[in-house]
């Protein structure tokens, strides 16, 4: 039921140019919004679509916009989270490189919907090419009069601006991102106040993901009801997934929410490398709790994944086959979380490093029953609201979920100083 949404036009040459984008119907949504709709009508249309945030939190987009106070006298901002840095996730880069105008148009529509005039795209510093393409796209939109003081001849000024990050995973956390945008060390804020009340530069702000906003023009053009025909009963629409790791065809794919991981991994991504078998996969970025091979028929339904204790997250599916060791993989991810901890709250700052030191001992064949216990304690100490933001939880989930599903591998390493992957596990 229904075709692609985000990638609908991706086969078109020069889609990153305004001329090609507009020929297909690009900017007709923004035109419609500013010339014939009210802010509330835009929010209502997106509400009908059922669109939820694609950065990982699944929060309903229309509801997020409606939280921004309508009667606020000063500026209000849309901030676009283009700081994609979740291990395994590359879909925002893919969207921006293929269709930068879709994001620019979506960000402008979102600004209108919250009664604001500027959207700021916070893009990670390593994304040189997407940055250049967005800069050109914004310039083109200004030259055409689609952005600026009088977009499409109307009086509701709209602008989209760019801000480059400089390398910090934590900036993907929305309040850390806002701190960074304000020129500070990117450390998450305590909430409340929430960004909708006090966000960028102290003003009401809605922070949206690249994919979320890139979907919005399509919803305005085709109607929220049309979008809602796709997906499951509660998790509507399509989404991007990035498949990486041990598959034949790693890549970015648009899926209808509700297809199974087997469909994505074995059909879209071409299945496993010759002679190998699936061992484990991360269903939604490295921060999503792992699922073992036996759960390959799990649906991508967002609520179903939550019920399993994991999440669709940012759509990054990391596939690991039987030539790799789960303990080594988890150790690698813990090094990442420890390195990227901003240091503001103690459980995350200390817990991550405890885990790294413990994994180091285990992989040096110095593990024992003690290390198994330490990892369990550390995993617990990182979770359940003990940390200021989700980074600590995610680190805990990696330990907890790999230990739960692959306790035998942990026991091999800690108690018998062996690895069942043996010589095949040259890396990871």
């Amino acid at each position: 039921m229904g075709g692609p949404v985000l990638t609908e036009w991706f086969a078109t040459p020069d889609l990153h140019k305004l001329a090609a984008y507009e020929k297909l119907g690009g900017y007709s949504a923004l035109r419609k919004v500013v010339t014939s709709m009210t802010a509330q009508q835009v929010i209502d249309e997106v509400k009908i679509s059922g669109l939820r945030g694609r950065g990982g939190a699944d929060f309903p987009t229309a509801m997020k916009w409606s939280f921004v106070p309508k009667d606020h006298p000063g500026p209000k901002y849309i901030v676009v989270n283009a700081d994609e840095s979740e291990p395994g996730s590359a879909k925002d880069r893919y969207l921006m490189e293929n269709s930068p105008h879709a994001l620019v148009e979506g960000a402008a529509i979102a600004s209108f919907a919250i009664g604001g005039h500027s959207a700021w795209i916070y893009i990670r510093g390593e994304y040189d090419l997407p940055y250049e393409m967005l800069r050109e796209a914004i310039a083109e939109a200004h030259a055409k009069g689609y952005l600026g003081t009088h977009p499409f001849g109307t009086g509701h000024a709209l602008d989209v601006r760019l801000y480059r990050g400089h390398g910090a995973y934590i900036c993907g956390e929305e309040t850390a991102l806002l701190e960074s945008l304000e020129g500070k060390r990117a450390q998450p804020r305590s909430r409340p106040p929430f960004p909708a009340v006090k966000g960028a530069w102290g003003q009401p702000t809605a922070v949206n993901n690249v994919e979320t906003l890139s979907t919005v023009p399509w919803i305005i053009r085709n109607g929220g009801a049309e979008y809602a025909k796709r997906g499951t009963e509660k998790a509507k629409g399509t989404r991007m997934v990035t498949v990486s790791g041990d598959v034949k065809k790693p890549g970015n794919y648009e899926i209808v929410i509700g297809v199974t991981y087997r469909h994505i991994i074995e059909e879209l991504a071409g299945g496993y490398l010759p002679g190998r078998k699936l061992k484990v996969f991360w269903p939604g970025g490295s921060s999503a709790k792992v699922l073992p091979a036996s759960m390959i028929d799990t649906s991508t339904d967002l609520d179903g994944l939550k019920a399993l204790g994991t999440m669709g997250g940012s759509g990054g599916i990391i596939v690991m086959d039987d030539s790799h060791c789960v303990v080594k993989g988890a150790a690698r991810l813990l090094r990442f979380y420890a390195h990227e901890s901003c240091g503001k709250c103690t459980p995350c700052r200390v817990g991550g490093n405890w885990a790294v030191r413990t994994y180091d001992r285990i992989l040096a064949n110095e593990g024992s029953q003690l290390e198994l216990g330490v990892l369990e304690r550390v995993a617990d100490g990182l979770q359940n609201g003990r940390c200021l933001c989700g980074l600590g939880d995610a680190a805990g989930w990696v330990i907890e979920s790999t230990m739960r599903h692959f306790h035998d591998e942990y026991e091999d390493h800690c108690l018998r100083h062996t690895c069942n992957v043996g010589a095949v596990a040259a890396h990871a």
């Binding site: 692609p4 990638t7 994609e84 590359a90 960074s180 990035t242 790791g245 970015n252 209808v256 990227e340």
Partner: protein, 198 residues
Amino acid sequence: MSALSPHLLEEIKALPANYPQPRSAVMPALDLAQEELGYLTPEAMSEVAVALQLDPGYVEGVATFYTLFHLQPVGKHRFYVCTNLSCTLRGAEEIVDHLRGAIGVREAGEVSGDGLFSYEEVECMGACEYAPMCRIDHRYHYDLTAAKIDQLVAERKSPSPARPTPLPPHPAGLRPATFPTSGEATPPVKKTRKKKGV
């Protein structure tokens, strides 16, 4: 004699006007300073602080937080090699081993004898479908092999200006390359079995 050129300091002083609050100019300013000097010296950070009317300690605090700011000398060309999980599963560690030999350094952060190269192991750069990958001179390089590393190094060692410009003025032709192994231009959205009841 200042560390930063007078022209650059003027440029930095003009930055705050671009933002709702002037403090947001600190990272773009550090970026300009690093672009000019290669890395951020204490003098450069102090000058940025004075130009933006900020405390030097504050500016240094920002600079030390972010991976892309360098407070030590670096090679003229810096390899940022992803060694996060997706890249490691596809051989990133072997790529790093090879790179060390190719540029003649023992560890991350060390500058090669000719001053041309240094490397860092970095966290996920968001191109997992092309693992293993690296970034050098503001460009991503995908599906790395030892031979590709050798080529990237050789291109930068040779005195001829054959090296590609940091960014293509026209990014057309990019799209087909986004599916390196499948050869498809567009991922088809397939209609398949949904969760029961839908």
